[in-house]
Each structure stands twice: as structure tokens, then as C-alpha cells.
């Protein structure tokens, strides 16, 4: 599904990722954990294709295709989805309009028929019911006046509608209390599927109590320092990231 080889990424001349390797197979959930400033967000943004990140070496292969040079919308159409740490507010644009534009853009790209208003409403009703999300959230402007929890649930709803093969959850737990976290995790778990891989990026272990990963990687100083099973997260919770600071020092 996703294969990253010896990836080097610089932002404004300073190297953030320094030879990162990562392989995610279909249906797997991988957690990327690491201290602040280790390059977690850079990794998620660079996979999604954000401007401002310079790939100075290595490559990212998604479903057998190199992503380098591909526009973000093209990556989305090919099945990559990034759930933002801080979802953006867009006043004056209704959530439902936004979702329909996104879905139909992707369908257009893939050469599929666009959904008309009726088909879209029907599909949305199904998705919101599955995820227990109220219609009210669809009518409101994108993320405007949403609570932290609502914003993250909206990300999960977008994921459900766009149905990606690779979902990257960038610090989805940040700013959420435990109840909101459980609701969001429940949504994510409903979207687990043998065809969908997920990359869960987090600083804390607690999200992984609810979204159980197949593998846990520790990212520090721009590289994967260690890989293990879900028990690695518990170990990190106990010991912290000090060990990796020392390793690099």
C-alpha cells in the first residue's frame, strides 16, 4: 500500500526527515509516535503533498506509484486522506457543499459519474447514521463554530465519504477530552477495513487504547528509531522518549 524509502525532507533549508523508511500493508494500522519536533507532522504533510516541503532524497510509493511531484488533489483522488490536526474553518461554505465538491472532484478524476443532489443526500444520510453524526453539522459552514470534538468528527465523516485507501490521522487526539476521543476513535474503528490502511500519528499512547495498531513506530530525529507491536506504545508511555533523545545525542 505505502512504501517509503530513505526519505529525506527539508523545510526552508533545514532537514527534518533524515532517511525515513516505512512500509504499510493493506488493511494495517500503523502508529507513528514520537516527541515534539521529531518530524511527525512533516511526514503526514509530505505524504499528502503540501507545498513547502522539499524532498531531497528517497521516495514515497503509493500503490506502486511514486507520489513525488503529484498535486494534493491528485493524491486525494488516488486514495490518500489526511485528517488534520487543526481542521480549517471555511465561513460561508456549507459542509455539505464542501463534501459534495470534494467527492465529485474525486469521481471526475477517476472517470466516474458525479453524484447528483439526490444520490448525494442519500449517501450522506447513510454515512451520518453509521457515524452517529447529526444533520445539523452538514448544514453549518465548514468547521465554523465547531467544538474541538466536532471538528475531529467532521474529519472522520469526510474520511467516510471520500473512502480513501490510506488515511493519515495527524494528532487526531490533540485537544480532545476523553469522551470526545472515544467517540472519534469509535468512528475510526468503524472505518477499519481490509482494503484501507491507516497511519495514526500521535504523541500520546492514550489514543492507541481505542484504536489498536498493528505496528508502532517511534519517530525521532527524522528517522524511525524503533518498530514494535502495540505493546511498544505502553512502554513509551512508561519510559517516555528520553531513550531516543540519548540515542541521537
Amino acid at each position: 500500500m505505502l512504501e517509503i524509502k530513505n526519505l529525506h525532507v527539508s523545510v526552508e533549508g533545514s532537514e527534518i526527515l533524515k532517511g525515513l523508511d516505512l512500509t504499510v500493508d493493506p488493511g494495517e494500522i500503523h502508529a507513528i509516535m514520537g516527541p515534539n519536533g521529531s518530524g511527525k507532522s512533516t511526514l503526514s504533510h509530505v505524504i499528502a503533498g503540501r507545498d513547502g516541503y522539499e524532498i531531497t532524497g528517497g521516495r514515497i510509493i503509493f500503490q506502486g506509484e511514486a507520489l513525488t511531484g503529484m498535486e494534493p488533489e491528485e493524491r486525494a483522488a488516488k486514495g490518500i486522506f489526511l485528517a488534520f490536526q487543526y481542521p480549517v474553518e471555511i465561513p460561508g461554505v456549507a459542509n455539505t457543499t464542501f463534501l459534495k465538491e470534494a467527492l465529485n472532484s474525486i469521481r471526475r478524476y477517476r472517470g466516474e459519474d458525479e453524484l447528483d443532489a439526490m444520490q448525494f443526500v442519500k449517501m450522506m444520510r447513510k454515512k451520518t447514521e453509521e457515524l452517529n453524526i447529526s444533520d445539523d453539522m452538514l448544514k453549518r459552514a465548514v468547521n465554523v463554530g465547531f467544538s474541538g470534538g466536532e471538528k475531529k468528527r467532521n474529519e472522520i465523516l469526510q474520511m467516510a465519504v471520500l473512502n480513501p485507501s490510506l488515511a493519515i490521522l495527524d494528532e487526531t487526539d490533540s485537544g480532545l477530552d476523553i469522551d470526545a476521543l472515544k467517540i472519534v476513535a469509535e468512528g475510526v474503528n468503524k472505518l477499519r477495513s481490509p482494503d484501507r490502511s491507516m497511519l495514526v500519528i500521535t504523541h500520546y499512547q492514550r489514543l492507541l487504547d481505542y484504536i489498536i495498531p498493528d505496528k508502532v513506530h517511534v519517530l525521532a530525529h527524522g528517522k524511525i528509531q524503533r518498530t514494535g507491536g502495540k505493546e511498544l506504545a505502553l512502554e513509551l508511555e512508561e519510559k517516555g522518549y528520553a531513550e531516543f533523545d540519548e540515542a541521537a545525542a
Partner: protein, 449 residues
């Protein structure tokens, strides 16, 4: 080949008995015109030496020798009327082409009793005394040069009079079509809107260019709103890209009356909308709003003056602009609060989105406050498309051009929301959407947002 240095050479040979001028047999109007031309000659065309014209230069006009319109210009072939609102149906509509009223496109509509809508020529014939009491009453003798010019040259326009207590539900549309001539022309609309006590009306003006040539429109609108009355005054300036549009609106708002306006500027090589509102009675309110969308080398100037002259008056002023390419815009918003105007509540905001590094805005908010008990806020900001928001939309599969459009639409939403009438808000939003680049991506649902 002769070359002239004055853009309005015919002003020098001003003739108040020129055939075709409305009301040539009215002595008072003749005097008014003569005074106007004398004052205009004394003042001359505005230059950047005047504070109010520091950012807008009329010099480019000098390259063109404009001629007065003739009846023939007014009869230019027209296969459709660019109405702002879909399907006029029973809606009243007046249509002018190059300053000439076209009776065949006039829809009288189902206006209630007590509403009088005429073109200037007819009102000077039918109600000269009424016209005399209003024309020039709001602009005053010491009006600026371009108003004086209009007073001298007024050759077209409309008059709307709504009797006390009469409520007009349907919007009245006035379409001014420019262009469609083979030489540069100038025309001078003079409009009057007078609402009696407690009356209500909505007027939509559509200035639109249909040809390709240069023309010059110098419009003045005088508006008198009596106690408890309400006027919704909406305007779209969509002149052609070689056109010059200089408009002035002078408004008097009485006790507990409301003037609510929105001006959308999406065309013209050079345009200026000058609005002056006097809140003369307690509880009077003015909403002076607008949006400007410019590209190429277009220049748009919104200059407003809102005077609070009585206690507990309020105003709200929201202007939003989107500038692309090498376009320029000017916003000069002055709010004056007189000593008597205690309890004034004023809010002014001007925000501009620059889509190109070559675009430029000069924003000058000015508050002049002489009363103590006043709540007044103002702000002016300039920015670019938010890159994070752009990435957010694109990461959802929305192509860049469409994503930019959504963000521009989102930006303008705050201003368009000021339009109280839902149908008109939709029509204006539509205009905005079709202005945007990559409008081909538009889907109907955008309007629901």
C-alpha cells in the same frame, strides 16, 4: 486627424438648448444647468491635488474625446435585456440604452397605487414642480465638480416617488446599458428616489456594458427617505472594460428611517462610487455595503461619507474586495459624528483579498467624532489566500482553481450577507460566482452555502 486634450470637449461648447435634452423649456432647469456648468468650469475635473482624489486619477480619460449621446445611439439594436433578477414576470423594469429610455422593454409591473415611476424626461413634463423641489436639493450648490457636471448635462435618469405608507414588495429594476456605439459617448443619468413617511421600496440598478468601445457614465442619484420609511438600494456596476463610471449617491434619512445599500462593482476600466448619507433624524440607520472584484488593469474607488446629525443614529458599513492581476482599488470611508449625535452606533469594515502581487488597495478609514457618547468601530485589512485553507480543500480532492474559488466566495460571503433580500442576494452571489476564474466548475449547490 484632430486631437483634443479635454475628454469632454463638448462641455466647453455646452448648449442648454441642445435638441434632446430633457426639460429644455423649463426656466428653473435652464438656470440650474447654467449654474452647474459655470461651477464645473470653475472647479475643473478633479485632480490628485484634491485629497479626495489622491488615489484615483482621471487623467487617462484625456486620451478619449467623448461625444454626447444621440437618439440614434439610444436605439442601438438589443436582442435581450441583461436583467439581474431572473424572469421579470410582473416585476417593474426600466431599460435605458446609452442614456435613452427604451419603451419597448419597459415593464410597468404590478405596482401598488401611490407609486410613481417615470423616466426623467416624463417627470419633467408631468410633474415639473415636484421635480424642481427635489433636483439639486440633496447635492446642494457647493457640490463637487462631477455632480455639477451632471447637473449641467443631465440627459437621462428616472424618478421614483412612493407615497406615504405605501409598501412596494417587488423590487424595481433599472437597467442602464452602455456601449453599442461606434464612437466614445458620454451620458449623464440623474435619478431621484423619494419615499414618503413609512413607505418601503427596493430599487436595483444594473449598469452594464454590452459593447466593446469606451464610454463615460456620470450618474447622480438623490434619495430622500422620510420618517419611518425604508429604501433598499442595490447596484451592480458591470460596465464594459473600456468604460468609465463615475457615480454619486446623495441620501437624506429622516427619523427612524433606513437606507440600506449594497454596491457590487465587477467591471469598468475606471469606476468610482461616491456615497454620501446624512442621518438627519433620531433613530435613522444607514447600511452602506459593497464588494468589488477587479482584474486586468481595472480601477475601482468606493468613497463614502456617513454623517450622524441626530441622536441614536446608527450605521453599518462592510466592504470587501478581491483584486487580481494589476488591478487597483480605493476605499475611503468617512464617518462623521456631530456634537448632537449622542448615542451613535457605527461600524465600518473594509477587507481586501489580493490574488496577485501586482494588485493594490488604498484603504483610508476616517472617523470624525464630536460627540461623547458614541460607539464606533472600524477596521481595514488586506491579505492573501490562506495557504493552509487551500491545502485543506485540495487534500480533499478539490482542484486548485476550484479551491481558490471556494475561498474567494467564502471571503465575500460576509459582505453579501448584508443584502437583506434573499432573491437579490442570490442574484448578486451569482454575479460573483461568474466573475470568478474557473467558473466552469460551478455547481448549483454553491449558492446554498
Amino acid at each position: 486627424m484632430t486631437k483634443t486634450t479635454s475628454p469632454l470637449a463638448f462641455v466647453d461648447s455646452f448648449d442648454d438648448e441642445r435638441t434632446g435634452l430633457p426639460g429644455i423649456d423649463l426656466p428653473w432647469l435652464k438656470t440650474l444647468r447654467r449654474d452647474g456648468i459655470e461651477r464645473f468650469k470653475g472647479l475643473g475635473m478633479p485632480t490628485p491635488k484634491l485629497e479626495a482624489w489622491k488615489y484615483t486619477r482621471l487623467k487617462p480619460l484625456e486620451d478619449t474625446s467623448f461625444q454626447p449621446v444621440t437618439d440614434e445611439d439610444g436605439m442601438a439594436a438589443l436582442d435581450h435585456v441583461p436583467s439581474l433578477l431572473p424572469d421579470p414576470g410582473g416585476r417593474p423594469r426600466l431599460v435605458f440604452v446609452n442614456g435613452r429610455m427604451r419603451p419597448n422593454f419597459w415593464i410597468e409591473g404590478d405596482l401598488p397605487d401611490g407609486v410613481h415611476l417615470d423616466c426623467l424626461r416624463d417627470v419633467l413634463l408631468r410633474a415639473p414642480d415636484w421635480a424642481e423641489s427635489y433636483i439639486g436639493s440633496l447635492t446642494g450648490e457647493d457640490a463637487a465638480a462631477l455632480v455639477q457636471l451632471n447637473t449641467a448635462m443631465m440627459d437621462t435618469g428616472f424618478a421614483l416617488r412612493v407615497d406615504p405608507g405605501v409598501i412596494v414588495e417587488t423590487p424595481i429594476e433599472v437597467v442602464y446599458i452602455g456601449g453599442l456605439t461606434d464612437r466614445p459617448v458620454a451620458y449623464f443619468p440623474r435619478n431621484l428616489i423619494v419615499l414618503g413617511e413609512g413607505a418601503q421600496a427596493t430599487v436595483v440598478k444594473h449598469h452594464v456594458g454590452m459593447g466593446v468601445g469606451a464610454y463615460f457614465a456620470n450618474a447622480v442619484t438623490e434619495i430622500d427617505i422620510a420618517q419611518g420609511a425604508r429604501l433598499n438600494h442595490y447596484e451592480v456596476q458591470a460596465e464594459s472594460r473600456d468604460a468609465t463610471h463615475l457615480g454619486a449617491v446623495n441620501v437624506r434619512v429622516a427619523k427612524d428611517a433606513t437606507y440600506d445599500s449594497f454596491t457590487l462593482s465587477i467591471g469598468g476600466r475606471l469606476s468610482r462610487n461616491e456615497v454620501s448619507v446624512r442621518l438627519e433624524g433620531q433613530g435613522a440607520h444607514a447600511g452602506v455595503n459593497g464588494a468589488y472584484l477587479m482584474r486586468g488593469s481595472e480601477h475601482c474607488d468606493n468613497t463614502t461619507r456617513i454623517e450622524h446629525l441626530a441622536p441614536n443614529t446608527s450605521c453599518r458599513e462592510i466592504f470587501k474586495g478581491v483584486l487580481d492581476d494589476q488591478s487597483r482599488a480605493v476605499f475611503q470611508g468617512r464617518i462623521v459624528v456631530n456634537r448632537e449625535a449622542q448615542g451613535t452606533d457605527g461600524h465600518q469594515l473594509c477587507k481586501t483579498l489580493l490574488l496577485s502581487t501586482g494588485a493594490e488597495i488604498d484603504a483610508k478609514p476616517e472617523l470624525e467624532i464630536y460627540a461623547d457618547d458614541v460607539k464606533c468601530s472600524h477596521g481595514a485589512t488586506t491579505g492573501q489566500i490562506d495557504e493552509t485553507a487551500l491545502f485543506y480543500l485540495r487534500s480533499r480532492g478539490i482542484p486548485e482553481a476550484l479551491a481558490r474559488n471556494l475561498l474567494v466566495q467564502s471571503f465575500l460571503g460576509e459582505a453579501l450577507e448584508e443584502i437583506a433580500d434573499e432573491n437579490i442576494r442570490e442574484a448578486f452571489t451569482n454575479k460573483v460566482l461568474h466573475w470568478l476564474p474557473a467558473a466552469c466548475f460551478l455547481s448549483e449547490e454553491w449558492r446554498d452555502a
